[in-house]
């Protein structure tokens, strides 16, 4: 009576997104937090030219800070009433759970990043046009896929037992460093900050795509082991 991975993934993703739509934790808590972070950056850096120059990096930094909240939220939903345990006991295919939760996290991250990019345009006065937009969109999709896979994977390990949630930043930050480096460079190309051309951004997007592929596959293979007790 085992179900196909894709059906499980779809059910899990739909469930997560429906819960978010009802509870509005991302829209009411995480988005305002990330917006505030963008404002705080302006307070700290206090220089319009600098802000415009580093806007790409700030957007991705704010994304990473919010990533922890999103990951913890997506697993809090499971552990609150022991649902993750029940999923394990039911013998539900962990790969399906991994793909479903990654997709839901991907969608939430995209919403978050859209808001952050708008904030960057407004607060830091960057602008994007033409081929820059194509680069930016591709960069965002690849980077977000990587973050969603990695967040779900390590989030699964640190969910549940007390004293584990604090492990999440320690484990996650080194792993997402390549995403930060590459996404920032690609975004700066898209914004044409500091004279960088759009063409120079594409190699970075290539690395982001490799990252997403590696951790998508790695996650599929290892998620089951990491949520196991």
């Amino acid at each position: 009576m085992s179900m196909s991975t894709s059906r499980i993934a779809r059910a899990v993703a739909a469930k997560d997104l429906r819960i978010e739509l009802r509870s509005r934790v991302v829209t009411n808590q995480v988005l305002p937090f990330s917006g505030l972070v963008m404002v705080m950056f302006a307070f700290a850096l206090d220089n319009d030219d600098v802000l415009q120059r580093v806007a790409g990096g700030l957007v991705w930094l704010a994304t990473l800070f919010s990533l922890f909240m999103l990951v913890q939220r997506t697993f809090a939903v499971e552990t609150y009433d022991g649902a993750l345990d029940s999923l394990r006991v039911a013998g539900v295919n962990p790969q399906g759970i991994f793909l479903g939760k990654s997709f839901a996290l991907f969608v939430q991250l995209l919403v978050l990043e859209s808001v952050l990019f708008v904030a960057a345009v407004v607060l830091y006065r960057v602008n994007v046009n033409g081929s820059g937009v194509v680069l930016l969109v591709t960069c965002v999709l690849c980077a977000t896929a990587g973050l969603a896979f990695v967040g779900t994977l390590y989030g699964g390990l640190t969910a549940g037992a007390r004293g584990r949630e604090t492990l999440l930043p320690l484990l996650l930050l080194p792993v997402v460093a390549p995403v930060l480096i590459c996404a920032t460079r690609a975004t700066e190309s898209a914004f044409r900050s500091g004279g960088v051309t759009v063409g120079e951004g594409w190699p970075w997007v290539g690395v982001l795509a490799v990252f997403a592929a590696v951790f998508g596959l790695g996650g599929l293979l290892s998620f089951g082991s990491l949520i196991e007790e």
Binding site: S2, V12, V89
Partner: protein, 216 residues
Amino acid sequence: MSAHSVINFVDAVAVYNGYPALAGVTLSVERNEIVLLQGPNGAGKSTLLRACAGLMPVIRGTAHVLGYDLTVDRESVRERVGLLGHQNGLFGELTIAENVSFWSTVVGASAEERTSAMERMAIDGKLAERRVSELSAGQKRRCALACLVVRRAELWLLDEPHAGLDAKGRDEIDRIVKEAAASGATVVVASHEIERAQQLATRTVSLIAGQVRESQ
């Protein structure tokens, strides 16, 4: 103890954080039995149920459930076993119907099975549309049982299913358990409700300090 025992533990030891929650359990459960597991708090009833579900590692002795050797592989058995623990495993922001629908999708149950599960739990249309977070403990329990029923498990493991329910709720649990056994499942119920459960169970097993004391 026959070759077709559903549960067959011999001197099983399960440890949690260095503490032997099960300190040598010898237990045999046959098909279609309804076994009441009783014992004081801390005796290891929950651990025993979790061990049967393959959630806790058994580090000593033998432990076979539905023919699977749990000391070697505790994951394959899970598809055929249903556990209702202290928590319900529900999603608070979703309605009962959505919860049951989710569980039936991930275990591959059909729409008819889903409807029938809700009927067996006496969940009518109006109740099904309410969010789980707004329900009483008894209603949540029934929802959790509906999610369990939809899995068509061969072995049901219920940890204090009567807890927090009124008399009517408890009667319904008993009815559901009897129906499950009648349709071929084996049920192990851990409960403090001694008098009630003795009407319900075919056999009572006492668990004290991680071992089975007596079996009637």
